[in-house]
Symmetry: C2
Subunit: 398 residues, 2 copies
């Protein structure tokens, strides 16, 4: 039988976590307690208004919603943007099934099969799969731990552009590195975009997770790229509602706004109940977000301080999201993590982080790096860093 799956599916990798999953399961079944810092799943409570609104919504028939999204939700998101000085009207905002679909739509809109985009690596692993689904190639803007994963020079970035380059995909603040791009970096990207006629797809789901009193600049704040910018967004991290699968895509580009509705139509609508809940989330007082911000900033400080005390760790202090990426004093981080799951424990406990190799689009990069998601309470973070230090020392002396 010659029937065969597509190359785009067969060539797609499973996520790095998946490779570690059997070892994690084994360690658990052996009775080890795992302090989990390998998933970007916040532990913050989802505002109860979300659940209350859904409980109060009791239609007789759960019918199709609007293709472009619940009008009330589009309105509150517009209001939310305006509160940050970002000018998106409700009809420039389209509700998507999480940030993933917003990204998918932005790729389909800007690229034909065989086209490419520039994207900063290490990058959110799902970028690697979603681009392959729609035959878009990633040309990686490589960054590394030695300069805190900040951008290389304009020349270096522009050298990647060819006639098939259609967009620059930014993740700001960045997952997995926690980088918040400086205004100089943002300006440089905007200049590259305008001078090379490129879209800027900016995934800003961590917009509120910016520390040290930094002022956050969205790509949607920059007037000269008004027509270039497509914003990918989601309620998952902002309101700790990862399971809701509600995101949005927004742009001031008139062609984009006139055509994106076709993609919305093609899958009819985003989930009804979760949109009802999301309306309430956007009415959450800003103080909720400010408190979360403070909490994560503190967690970042705790992890960063302890992490940099470990011999041989290379990293710089990230200013955003809830991740720290760092180089460990090992030859291969994945081997180390597997070794740790199989051979290490301290009072029955072990910590688990992500190997970062799958976050690079370039094969072979990131072998010594890991991503640490600081989504736990302080005492667990302290214990986790202690476990990491002990494990590294045991690994060196194994």
């Amino acid at each position: 039988m010659q029937m065969k799956l597509s190359n785009r599916l067969l060539g797609m990798p499973f996520s790095g976590t998946r490779k570690l999953t059997p070892y994690i399961e084994k360690a658990k079944s052996d009775g080890k307690k795992i302090i989990a810092m390998y998933v970007g799943q916040p532990d913050i409570k989802t505002p109860v208004g979300f659940f209350e609104a859904i409980r109060d919504f009791q239609p007789e028939v759960l019918s199709y919603g609007e293709n472009n999204g619940n009008p009330e939700l589009r309105k509150v998101i517009s209001k939310y943007y305006h509160s940050y000085g970002i000018d998106f009207n409700p009809d420039e905002i389209f509700i998507t099934v999480a940030g993933s679909e917003a990204l998918l739509f932005s790729l389909i809109s800007t690229c034909d099969a065989g086209d490419n985009i520039l994207a900063v690596e290490p990058l959110y692993t799902d970028y690697n799969s979603i681009t392959k689904e729609v035959n878009v190639e990633i040309k990686p803007i490589t960054t590394g731990p030695e300069n805190g994963y900040h951008l290389p020079s304009r020349e270096r970035i522009e050298s990647l552009i060819d006639e098939k380059t259609k967009a620059i995909l930014m993740n700001h603040p960045n997952n997995p590195t926690g980088v918040v791009y400086t205004d100089e970096e943002i300006n440089m990207i905007c200049d590259i975009a305008t001078e090379n006629d490129l879209f800027i797809i900016s995934d800003e789901v961590y917009r509120e997770f910016v520390y040290d009193g930094l002022k956050y600049t969205s790509f949607a704040h920059v007037d000269k790229v008004k027509d270039n910018v497509i914003i990918v967004d989601s309620i998952s991290k902002r309101f700790s509602a990862c399971g809701a699968r509600i995101g949005s895509i927004a742009s001031k580009n008139k062609d984009f706004v006139a055509n994106i509705g076709k993609l919305c139509q093609s899958r009819i609508c985003a989930p009804t109940l979760e949109q009802i809940g999301a309306i309430e989330l956007y009415k959450t007082p800003k103080s909720y977000l400010e408190e979360i911000n403070k909490e994560y900033e503190h967690r970042r400080d705790v992890v960063y301080e302890l992490l940099t005390k470990i011999d041989g760790v290379v990293c710089q202090k990230p200013e955003g999201a809830f991740y720290i990426s760092a180089e460990l004093p090992v030859d291969n981080a994945e081997d180390f993590l597997i070794w740790m799951l199989e051979n290490f424990e301290d009072k029955g406990e072990v910590v688990m982080v992500s190997s970062i190799e799958g976050f690079y689009a370039t094969e072979g990069l990131g072998k010594r790096e890991v991503r640490i998601a600081y989504v736990l309470e302080e005492d667990k973070l302290r214990r986790a860093m202690e476990l990491l230090e002990k494990a590294l020392s045991a690994y060196a002396n194994r």
Copy 2:
């Protein structure tokens, strides 16, 4: 500025309904009451268990669900399939964001960019858009009203196959035609698939909507195509839960099962709450589905009887789904519908159905045909057919 949207987006049509929308809105604002038979939105109540289960689910954090879907939901769907003599185990079933995502995944899995699939036309309009999103071409198996939209000969179908053909997409029962394929037709498709090494992607969301005491044969019932078949499914029509966006994709093909998880991973999970509700839906007693079936069969009889009494209408009695497609005695059905919205009314009322042109992949076909969704109560259906007859007569004498 040369920045330009992709050809795949620009070349994608908006749905036919959208073209009529401004006329519908205008008629409404003029005070006309529209009997709506242009959307496949059932009026049947969603089982209350759906809402109750969601109300009872009160986590503190709405966290990510499993990539492949809620394990309990996969279990009850497996049980549901087994109750029809279809052997899918839970690990061969993957929860998707409605049938649309199941279809998207089946296309990405079986086709690379530039590959093609055979599909019966007229077809569900969203097939036209979703295939364009992922650069899959539709080679249409054309059917028409004169033989009740049943399949052409095997020779005719096989003549469409070339080296880039990877799958046959079936919609069984069919939207928009209401056709339930005979066992002879199903066997023919299965023979074509096995002898040409093609996947069969079977969209069976109307599985329970089969009338006249016919026994329904799923492509998953046919043993010889066990490895070829990918079933696309959804709770939208079955349980009148269109807004939930919960579907599934199932296959016994081991390669497919081993790889489809990558696509599930790429968008993390389907909506959590709606999956919780869907578990309850699959526990709904079969009597619910039987009653709905009886109700729709009766509605079909009412519409069919009245429709065939109208001079010049060409159609055959469909055995499934909740649509009748028919040729009207007009040169252009869309022109007629627009005329009707603008110029016709009877005691302030007008009926609206879909023009079927956008349901054909082949340009120029279906100009005289419409799709009638009988998703209303009997008295409304009777009145609707009366309005259609009067409007056709007024149109002929205009």
